[in-house]
């Protein structure tokens, strides 16, 4: 990339992407609860209201179903709405419009419309917000043909994937982990896109492949650094897109490392890890496996309030280190 690069937080990078889109395309509007003068529950929209005014930075009432549906209707008729859910958990109130309408409209209407709506979902645990404000529901959306689902993990990708989502004619759901909002990283200035549907190798390694999503990417990288000291070289793949999954990238890596671990925060059962495991089992990489595939995921429980329990409910670095060590050294 040619643009100058500076350091921004993940939240600032998303805001910058929205500002670029609002600046260059009159059709773009941002809608959501308390995204105006309040700046959004996580201060992602921030000062956009001052720069673009209330006609384009639209505070909605607390009406997730209606608000999401209005965004869908506006997308079908010529706008490019970005709809922010205050917490991804509140998408449960709007599933009708997302799953029955946005995802299916193009198909049901035989291709006569597109639904270029972008929805943003602050997701995940670790903030002490308990069971109804901490879920990781991205796999639900990944199960619906018609939707695209991304999970950026760096400020650079948060900006690039949002701009890619806005250029995409189909509905794109962006899951943003709340613990990432304040993390900082290099972000190119100006407009650029990060491709939807492409995983990214964050660390090369010969001994074991870890596919991680969301905040688990940084935990997997931390684990990889610890294991490097023991002579175990871990390859870390940031999945980035949940639907469509970049199967070739994972297959290629597993063929080199012969070992696969998947780490995500969402509940393990029927999760993204299960899907990736199955894809590897069905692929040419299966013959290269030297050990059973390992899945690390959220516990079979709602997210608890107590901080120790909350930590115990989702994978943490020591658990990832132990699982990878066992996997790489043939102890499982």
């Amino acid at each position: 990339m040619d643009q100058p690069v500076r350091e921004l937080s993940y939240a600032e990078a998303i805001r910058e992407a929205m500002a670029i889109a609002l600046e260059r395309d009159e059709r773009v509007v941002v809608m959501g609860e308390d995204i105006g003068v309040y700046g959004g529950a996580f201060q992602v929209t921030g000062d956009l209201i001052e720069r673009f005014g209330p006609d384009r930075i639209i505070d909605t009432p607390i009406s997730e179903l209606g608000g999401a549906g209005i965004a869908v209707g506006a997308a079908v008729t010529g706008l490019r709405p970005i709809f922010e859910f205050q917490f991804s958990d509140f998408a449960t109130l709007a599933m009708e419009q997302i799953v029955n309408q946005a995802a299916k409209m193009r198909f049901m209407l035989g291709g006569s419309v597109s639904v270029p709506v972008v929805m943003r979902f602050p997701a995940g645990s670790g903030t002490g917000a308990a069971a109804q404000h901490s879920q990781s529901l991205e796999a639900w959306f990944g199960h619906v043909p018609g939707l695209k689902v991304v999970q950026p993990t760096t400020p650079e990708d948060a900006k690039g994937l949002l701009l890619a989502a806005l250029e995409d004619p189909d509905p794109v759901m962006i899951f943003e982990h709340k613990l990432l909002y304040k993390t900082r990283g290099p972000v190119p200035e100006g407009a650029y896109t990060t491709p939807i549907g492409k995983a990214e190798i964050r660390r090369k390694g010969r001994d074991v492949t870890v596919v991680a999503t969301g905040v688990m990417v940084s935990r997997a990288l931390e684990a990889a650094n610890e294991l490097a000291a023991e002579g175990i070289e871990v390859e870390v793949i940031d999945l980035r897109t949940v639907r469509p999954i970049d199967t070739p990238a994972i297959v290629e890596s597993v063929i080199r490392t012969h070992r696969l671990c998947i780490v995500h925060e969402a509940v393990k059962t029927l999760g993204i890890g299960a899907e990736i495991s199955a894809r590897i089992a069905e692929s040419e990489a299966f013959d290269y496996l030297d050990a059973p595939i390992v899945r690390l995921g959220g516990a079979e429980t709602p997210i608890p309030y107590n901080p120790d329990l909350e930590k115990a409910a989702v994978p943490q670095v020591p658990g990832i280190v132990a699982a990878l060590r066992d996997l790489a050294t043939g102890r499982r």
């Binding site: 209606g66 549906g69 309408q101 193009r106 419309v113 004619p169």
Partner: protein
């Protein structure tokens, strides 16, 4: 009005020079009125044709027929410009026809054919014709209501002067989507008209058992918009109320709610064994309050068509329906190799 009353009105007009005819006949020329009547007949004949095709095993799935509700679809359509938009319901065949859809492509969709409005992917419950402003029927009760408000947000933001009509039934007025969407349409003063076709029953549950308020129109009060209850089988009254609401919307004065009282002659869908209403009730609506017979009487009374003229329209409608069914039957089915087409936008 009975026929004699109408004759007296005409005489009185001749004496005073005042035009006391119903709104429809004052507002629209004879050609437009004849076309509206033809659309009502076309809706009824389409529904009868669809039902017949189903009985003969030519189509699978289900259908929701709007026989008895023709005046509401056509009366609303009379108040709209070609580029105005609508969202429709599972009982949406009439809305499509009123908004200018061709019956042959509707039959083709109903038959699941590639030449249908949705290339056979949607079926009866998803017929849309975006080129005519019909954003589509909807299989989810209340599902189209927020979408209509979103279309109205687009219209305002893009400054294209369009008005959106949102059709829904009495059953939908108890969905959360109805309340959320009406509230937002009102706080943002969007150019949308909410048209409730109240046929008395949400599937088997009567309005009295399902809705706390005596009318659906009075729910408008909670959202600070005008709400009116209209005889939905009176084409002229529907056209007049809709025109008022549409001009209000187009002038930037915000949304309105119109409740059109009507009745569906057939069951909810093909599974309906009709255990929740009496034969007397159905017969009453069919014999005493048939919207088609009512407009026919007016057409004759006000000299728009005579009996021979009515017959000619009936014959031309029957011909169009027959040709439409033939077109649907002869059309190709989608190729199973194209199963995944249209899930995503090609080339994206």
């Amino acid at each position: 009005m009975g026929r004699e009353d109408k004759a007296m009105v005409k005489k009185a007009e001749a004496a005073t020079g005042a035009d006391n005819r119903p709104f429809l006949f004052r507002r629209h020329d004879a050609g437009t009125i004849r076309e509206a009547y033809r659309k009502m007949l076309l809706i009824r004949a389409f529904e009868e044709g669809a039902e017949n095709a189903y009985m003969r095993g030519l189509v699978h799935g289900t259908m929701h027929l709007s026989i008895g509700q023709e005046a509401s679809a056509v009366g609303v359509g009379l108040a709209l410009r070609d580029d105005d938009q609508i969202t429709s319901t599972h009982r949406g065949h009439g809305h499509s026809i009123a908004k200018g859809a061709e019956v042959k492509r509707m039959f083709a969709e109903f038959f699941g054919k590639e030449t249908g409005y949705c290339r056979g992917r949607g079926g009866s419950m998803h017929i849309a014709d975006v080129s005519k402003g019909n954003l589509g029927a909807n299989g989810i009760v209340g599902g189209g209501i927020p979408i209509a408000v979103g279309a109205a947000l687009s219209a305002r933001r893009l400054g294209n002067g369009k008005v959106v009509v949102c059709f829904f039934g009495d059953g939908a007025n108890n969905e959360g989507a109805f309340h959320e969407a009406l509230n937002m349409a009102a706080i943002w003063k969007l150019p949308v008209v909410f048209v409730c076709e109240n046929n008395g029953y949400g599937m088997s549950t009567s309005q009295a058992r399902a809705t706390a308020s005596a009318t659906i129109a009075e729910r408008a009060g909670a959202y600070a918009m005008p709400g009116r209850t209209i005889d939905g089988n009176d084409l002229s009254a529907v056209a007049e109320a809709t025109e008022d609401a549409v001009s209000r919307a187009r002038n930037g004065e915000g949304p309105s709610l119109i409740e059109l009282k009507t009745y569906r002659w057939r069951g909810h869908s093909k599974s309906d064994r009709n255990r929740y209403r009496t034969k007397e009730e159905i017969d009453h609506w069919m014999t005493e309050n048939d919207p088609v017979k009512r407009i026919e009487a007016d057409l004759v009374a006000f000299g728009i068509l005579d009996e021979a003229g009515l017959d000619a329209v009936r014959a031309s409608v029957a011909e169009e329906i027959e040709a439409g069914i033939a077109f649907a039957k002869e059309s190709p089915s989608p190729d199973p190799a194209d199963l995944e087409r249209f899930v995503y936008t090609e080339g994206a």
